[in-house]
């Protein structure tokens, strides 16, 4: 059971990790699809 709970904890942590990594890579649609002339913020 410990392994199962560890796997679930890893899954949640990896999801947050994926979110932050993808955000840093400019994953969002607004960043991918807007031209340089568009001010996002």
């Amino acid at each position: 059971m410990k392994t199962m709970l560890a796997a679930f904890a890893f899954t949640i942590a990896a999801s947050f990790g994926a979110y932050f990594v993808l955000s840093e890579m400019g994953f969002s649609s607004e960043e991918v699809q807007s031209a340089p002339s568009v001010r996002l913020d």
Binding site: M1, T3, M4, A6, A7, F8, F10, T11, A14, S15, F16, A18, Y19, L22, S29, V32, Q33, S34, A35, S37, V38
Partner: protein, 393 residues
């Protein structure tokens, strides 16, 4: 005089009689000024193939440009209708200020069929399919009961799966369950959540669901690769599997069919997970990176090479690629959910002792002998340690 009138009448009748059918279409088109006819509209409503070339190709020409003094002069020979038709059939050269080629498509009429398929057949498949398997398993449970260990547990245990195998399995299982739940929440949000909980609740649930779905998908894909690497060698089909299926895994006749580490049913689940999991991952990546990973046109071209009679379209607009990826994603995922519900049943309440294999990895020796006799022999020949039930691990 009368003869002349009769003769003219006969000639007119003959002319109408031998006029080809398309002339009727042309006449109807002429009556609408070249626009579509009632027949075209009715055929489209019935879902029949309509030859759109009469307006798809009717996009105006600069050769017919009117002088600037004319009211049409400023459009250079193209009327507003010509320009609209160009937009309608994605034939116009549209310039947009963002980076996506998809934005150059201003009108795309596949959206309605995508929406209707999603709200109709896909939801029906998911609802009836998943509901059906749950009812069928409940009926099986209440008529046949739990599959028990014949003669009861031995009290001795043997290690069935090592911790890294269980870790990989639970990463895949946990991420899949979350993906399935959030996917179903997104699929049934409008038809189930909004009528019961309202729009605000559905907006919050949908936001949460899409965040979880997009980010947990990476764990699913990584653990799918891990599972494949760990277990593919044990899942090569063999003649033993045919015997296993012939005996219904032990349901038909007496005694349990022989099996190594994985029996025929488990191999079926393994390959279903790998094949459908890969497919759902590919369509999922296509959805995660909109318009950047189109794959259906290429896939259709490959299918057409093998099965030319299929005649699948090989030129798809970016939006059509996304619509097909979305529908395919839902259909494949639903198929997986139906199969995995059965897998969860047999691995938990359906069979005594089965959960232990993925719980702490230690299974009752008698359970192992009944379901995986050849694997037990192999493990004991290698000197696998035998434990006692209740050992602290």
């Amino acid at each position: 005089m009368n003869l002349k009138i009769i003769g003219a009448g006969l000639i007119a009748l003959l002319t109408f009689a031998v006029t080809p059918a398309y002339s009727e279409d042309e006449k109807q088109r002429a009556s609408t000024g070249g626009a579509q006819t009632l027949d075209d509209i009715l055929a489209r409503q019935k879902g029949l193939e309509v030859d759109e070339s009469f307006r798809r190709d009717n996009l105006g020409s600069s050769d017919n440009a009117q002088p600037a003094s004319n009211s049409l002069g400023t459009l250079g020979g193209f009327s507003s209708s010509d320009i609209y038709r160009g937009i309608r059939y994605a034939e116009s050269d549209i310039k947009v200020s963002n980076n996506s080629h998809a934005s150059e498509i201003l009108v795309q009429d596949g959206g309605m069929s995508w929406l209707l398929t999603r709200e109709g057949n896909v939801r029906a498949f998911a609802g009836y399919g998943i509901g059906g398997i749950i009812i069928a398993l409940a009926a099986f449970y209440f008529t046949r009961g739990r599959m028990t260990i014949e003669g009861g547990p031995s009290g001795q245990t043997i290690e069935r799966f090592k911790s890294f195998e269980r870790f990989g399995h639970w990463c895949l299982a946990g991420s899949f369950i979350m993906l399935a739940c959030t996917g179903l929440l997104l699929l049934f949000g409008r038809s189930v959540i909004i009528p019961i909980f309202g729009h605000e609740a559905n907006a919050a649930i949908a936001n949460f669901s899409i965040w979880v779905h997009n980010n947990i998908a990476w764990v699913f894909m990584a653990s799918l690769v891990a599972i494949f690497v760990m277990w593919v060698a044990h899942n090569i089909p063999s003649k033993l599997d045919l015997v296993w299926f012939a005996k219904g895994g032990g349901i038909i006749g007496n005694g349990h069919p022989s099996a190594r580490k994985f029996n025929g049913g488990q191999k079926l689940i393994f390959w279903m997970t790998i094949v459908l999991g890969t497919s759902v991952s590919m369509s999922g990546l296509s959805l995660l990176f909109p318009f950047e990973m189109p794959m259906f046109a290429k896939t259709f071209a490959m299918i057409n090479t093998v099965l030319p009679a299929m005649g699948l379209p090989t030129e798809l607009l970016p939006h059509e690629e996304m619509q097909l990826a979305h529908l395919w994603h839902a259909i494949v995922a639903t198929t997986m959910i139906i199969a995995i519900v059965a897998h969860i049943y047999i691995g938990s309440v359906g069979m005594e002792g089965a959960f232990d294999a993925m719980g702490d990895g230690q299974v009752d020796l008698e359970w192992a002998r009944q379901h995986h006799d050849l694997w037990v022999e192999e493990e004991q020949a290698k000197g696998a340690p035998i434990g006692q039930a209740g050992d602290v691990r």
